[in-house]
Amino acid sequence: MNLPEDDDAPVRRRHPFWLAWGRLLRHRLFVSGLVLFGIILIAAVFAPYLAPTDPDKLAMRFKFLPPGADHPFGTDNFGRSLWSRVIWGARLSVLMGSAVVVLNAIFGTLIGAAAGYFRWLDNPLMRVNDALMAFPAILLAIGITAVLGPSTIDAVLALAIVYIPRTARIVRSSVIVLREMEYVQAAVAAGAGHWRILRRHIMPNAMAPLIVQLSFLFAYTVLAEATLSFLGVGAVPPTPTWGNIMAEGRQYMIEAPWIITIPGVALMITVMGLNMLGDGLRDVLDPRLRIQQ
């Protein structure tokens, strides 16, 4: 077919990514979320420069110092600098959250797409999925860490196992709808293979709900990881995580309330930032789910 060339020439074609980005930057909640999570991200990335003091360095002489010039966030019961511990805790939270999100993006998509696309796989995969989702989330995570042992990597695996079924379910429900679309049937009729149909025709259209889910998932993961380490089944002390700093600080709540407050506020900023990013992404990418503004 010969289309006149100037038909689309004057229109500046922009990649859909930039179109969405432009709309996101006009979304107030998204930008607020970006700022909040940005603070934590900067702390995580530049931890070695921002907090050059070893977070595990003991200095009993300086214990329970309130926040001040030398120790911006004060010190804990071992005289360790809370500034260093909270910043290194941020790095661990962000790393663990990202790892769980990546694992979910890979395995949640694979399982969800397989169950949604191949009818014969749907039942067996979804029954296992339902069973994993039926457990109370935190108890399942505690059980898995008991099998794997308490460590950072094992906590990541436990949280991934807890959350992958939820991601898979969301991918599956998009794929089931898309599978029946006429353009997919046209692709089948044209002789496209399963892999090509899934990759070229189905998955690109299932991305929006997945991205929204993953941004909220990041928030849940950070929260759940803090909960596990607060209960003492996550990363092992002295590795600083917000959860275990708060668990230790609990006994010294009266003489040094900053030990529980500062990591708690850091945790809140992270989770709130991620939730706001999720709200923004949902409004822009997935208009069906939009909460009316």
Binding site: I138, L139, I142, G143, A226
Partner: protein, 316 residues
């Protein structure tokens, strides 16, 4: 109606079977042997072997699984290794604590979440709406143990109004129960209040835009009646499905809340059981709790079908 209930109950069978297999497999995969915990450090090899034999741990895994299933079929959930009592009995002793706490938190969730969401929707884009949405954003973002710690500090330690932990059963002393349960219930309800308020608001806004609402207003019905009767009734239908999720989140959240406030409930029981490798306790307890949650979801689904005839017609 009975058809839907029956179909959902049958559908729960394979799920519970897989749940039992997962719990069984998980407990067998835990490194370390419970005999070491029972026998103590001083136990000799023969004593350990004796304990293992008594527990049936020297049998192959499939025999252990079959023994467990045979017991389950007879209503025998096994015996806790640490407490020496039947799992069912221990669970039933602890269950009222968790159920009373969850019920308290559920009431808070429904009252605050529904009211917050409804008022936000009715006053869309006003300061009421923005304040309600700000609070629900805080609700879903503040970790419940952080709020719990702050409340313990403020009301328990600093002001000394409420006890910082411990438990008084509801039927023994209702006032004492309220004093010990209020802070845990608030910290437990926080997340769900935020979630429910957000969902209620968006559902209400959706319903308020419908034609039948405009018609009701146009024919002169007072706004109070339209909102209270037409809009609310229709908005509550999709919201019922959320209740199942809320209950599941409450039970999951009670693990931390009970540990934080030292309440002797199921969450605390199972956390300790996992950490002590009391595997009959974990296996039986997790199965009971999960079966309970599956059952709650079936009840929610049936209620949903009762409330919304479309669901009944669509799925014969």
């Amino acid at each position: 109606m009975a058809g839907i209930a029956l179909r959902r109950l049958l559908g729960a069978v394979p799920v519970l079977l897989i749940v039992s297999l997962i719990t069984f497999g998980m407990m067998r995969a835990i490194p370390g042997d419970p005999s070491a915990i029972i026998g103590g450090i001083s136990a000799t090899q023969e004593q350990l072997a004796q304990i293992r034999h008594e527990l049936g741990l020297d049998q192959p895994a499939y025999i252990q699984l079959l023994t467990w299933y045979t017991g389950l079929a007879h209503g025998d959930f096994g015996r806790s290794l640490l407490m020496g009592q039947p799992v069912l009995q221990v669970t039933m002793q602890r269950l009222p604590v968790t159920l009373a706490l969850s019920a308290y938190a559920l009431v808070l969730t429904l009252v605050l979440g529904l009211l917050g969401g409804i008022f936000a929707a009715l006053r869309q884009n006003t300061w009421v709406d923005q304040a309600a949405m700000m609070f629900s954003m805080l609700g879903i973002s503040v970790p419940n143990f952080f709020l719990g710690l702050l409340m313990i500090f403020l009301f328990g330690v600093y002001l000394g109004w409420l006890p910082t932990g411990g438990y008084i059963p509801l039927w023994q002393d209702p006032v004492g129960w309220l004093r010990t349960s209020t802070m845990p219930a608030i910290s437990l309800a926080l997340l769900q209040v935020g979630l429910l308020a957000r969902i209620t608001r968006s559902t209400m806004l959706e319903v308020l835009r419908q034609d039948y609402i405009r018609t009701a207003r146009a024919k002169g019905l007072p706004r109070r009646l339209v909102v209270g009767k037409h809009a609310l009734a229709n908005a509550l239908i999709p919201i019922t499905t959320v209740v199942g999720i809320v209950i599941s989140l409450l039970i999951s959240g009670s693990v931390v809340t009970e540990t934080l406030f030292s309440l002797p409930g199921i969450g605390q029981l199972l956390t300790q059981a996992v950490l002590n490798r009391d595997y009959p306790m974990v296996q039986g307890g997790l199965l009971l709790v999960t079966a309970f949650l599956v059952f709650v979801n079936i009840v929610v689904d049936v209620c949903y079908a009762l409330l919304d005839p479309r669901v009944r017609y669509e799925s014969p």
